[in-house]
Symmetry: C2
Subunit: 355 residues, 2 copies
């Protein structure tokens, strides 16, 4: 772990602590794997974290304690125990923590019942408390996302440039994922989508053994990851002689995406970016074939806030990372989606999915 | 989808329905992805299922509806809607479902709050209701698990037989996963563990770029999957001239595992299998270096019930699939774990992790 990271987690957690204080809370408890990674650097499932006015604690099962001790930086403490909830109860009591926040969308009913039985603790529902802070990426995070974005883009371009008749969707997805591995991405950010021909008309197509034939659309939606940070890219190409119909649709989507990217800047409503993409496609006569939202935040999770959708009022801010991904889907024909991951800046945005 | 599958899901769900009736319940609601796969064949996240005395319903978001309609078999109905919870509330009301079971360990506090607001419905906590049935594998499931087990074993043996100095843990894990892909397993059952030398002393070691050198232990814990059904195997080898120390430890673990496998049969307590493994290792003087349980069920989830651990009283039954995986971990030296996946039979068990 590099030296600057030693201060990175402490800095993030100090900000969280201050925000807790402003809300009159003594602590915040998270079981969410991406939250845990963000506040501690610990990537494994099965750990949880308590950020409190009396210090920060990572709770690790015995089998992960060695790993946790190697990863977690002071001043966060690693608590290893056979009975982690009991150990946490002891810390809560000892430090007199009385008002503790949690995310009701990230904690199961059964577990919450156990927590609720702790005496003298008030549990305050506080959805997305850490997620809200995770929306604003620091330099370390932007560096990792950029690296993942570049690898993803290089891999996609390489595969598109060397398409061969007869390759299956599955083989092409494996090829992309192997390029990720060779480039230093241990695992893909999500299940790679490769869709040939008519299958490209389904935005969430699941890869099959369908073979690439002449004059087929090729849609690839893919992302590599770097130290947990993800990237998201879609490219749509055409194998063979490009039909006028494909060219027309492609150009509309391209124009819509350019308009969307041009609209991204610090201070703009997320819904506005969706609106300009949607308007371009609607005016071209294909509005009803644009069947999904325009984008989403990207970070430790592949889908994070903010959401770029119809009427979303959330404001895009400097250092958010979001996708812009309009598409047109023509059932029985083909689909075109063009997606890039961009960094919101003061005056506009920087496209991260470049070679 | 083959023809026998058309009846498979209906058969499973009829059994669930009868069990609900026996408990005086009108329905059971599950959001768990493996449960949903088991009752409907739908592998994607974001769907949920209601099994009821008035019929079975899979709720699919619009973007997955096409896929759901292709996968889901009658008599289960696919409900596609922009507002799925509202659609479900309508079905619950229309069919007069009043007592509905759910798994408190698989449903978030926030979502449950929405469900609790439905009028005239009593929600009955019923943890592991579908999981309990999933413990008993049918012929279709045993076929898929066997296929995954064989591919996993072939891949491990091939890699062990062709180890080369200088390969990194990560490269070896990629090599194993590529053999899975070539063999028809779209993704690994879990994050492949490869540990060289001292790293093998940590049961949950995370793969690094450490290079293989002469006279190192090589521990590989891996699993391929077939149509969602998983396999689990650990092999420990030695690269170079096997040291007497490694040989001694290896033989103790091998003996412990053989004793464990010999103890598996319909009617035996899961804790008994753990006991015989643990006793063998304890008698050899290494009891305190056996730091985890002896095994777990394997199916759509890599870790399912039953758990084979100290004093577990659950009884192993015919057609359960479990792992037997004792190990000895010597910090600063190396570790040895030997794991196979076995099918419980009337008189014993059948090892599925064979070539």
């Amino acid at each position: 772990m590099e030296n600057h990271e030693k201060h990175m987690f402490a800095r993030r957690n100090d900000t969280l602590r201050q925000r807790l204080k402003d809300k009159g809370l003594d602590a915040y408890l998270t079981f969410d794997q991406s939250d845990v990674m963000y506040v501690s650097g610990m990537p494994s499932e099965g750990c949880f974290v308590l950020i409190s006015q009396s210090g920060d604690f990572l709770f690790a099962p015995l089998l992960l304690a060695e790993h946790a001790r190697a990863v977690v930086q002071k001043p966060m403490k690693v608590v290893e125990d056979r009975r982690l909830l009991k150990a946490m109860a002891g810390i809560i009591k000892k430090n007199g923590l009385k008002k503790i926040g949690y995310d009701p969308d990230k904690i199961q009913v059964g577990l919450f019942k156990s927590l609720s039985s702790l005496p003298n603790v008030h549990w305050e529902p506080l959805g997305g408390f850490i997620l809200w802070q995770r929306m604003f990426k620091d330099a370390h995070e932007i560096g990792l996302i950029s690296k993942a974005c570049q690898l993803t883009t290089r891999s996609a371009e390489k595969c598109l440039a060397t398409l061969k008749e007869g390759i299956t969707e599955q083989e092409l997805s494996f090829k992309l994922e192997r390029l990720f591995q060779d480039g230093g991405s241990v695992k893909p950010a999500f299940e790679t989508i490769v869709a040939f021909g008519e299958s490209a008309a389904y935005p969430h197509h699941v890869v099959t053994k369908k073979k690439l034939g002449k004059n087929m659309a090729v849609l690839m939606d893919l992302g590599s990851s770097m130290e947990g940070y993800k990237s998201d890219l879609t490219r749509t190409g055409f194998f063979g002689k490009i039909s006028p119909r494909f060219k027309k649709i492609y150009n509309i989507v391209k124009e819509a995406q350019a308009a969307g990217i041009a609209a991204v800047r610090d201070g703009v409503a997320a819904g506005k970016v969706d609106f300009v993409c949607r308007e371009t496609i609607r005016k071209a006569g294909f509005g009803k074939f644009y069947v999904h939202g325009t984008g989403h935040g990207v970070g430790l999770d592949i889908h994070e806030p903010p959401r770029l959708g119809i009427s979303v009022k959330d404001i895009l801010k400097e250092n958010m990372v979001v996708t812009v991904e309009p598409g047109i889907y023509l059932p029985g024909e083909f689909g075109v989606r063009i997606e890039d991951t961009v960094l919101v800046t003061k005056g506009g945005c920087k496209v991260l999915t470049v070679v």
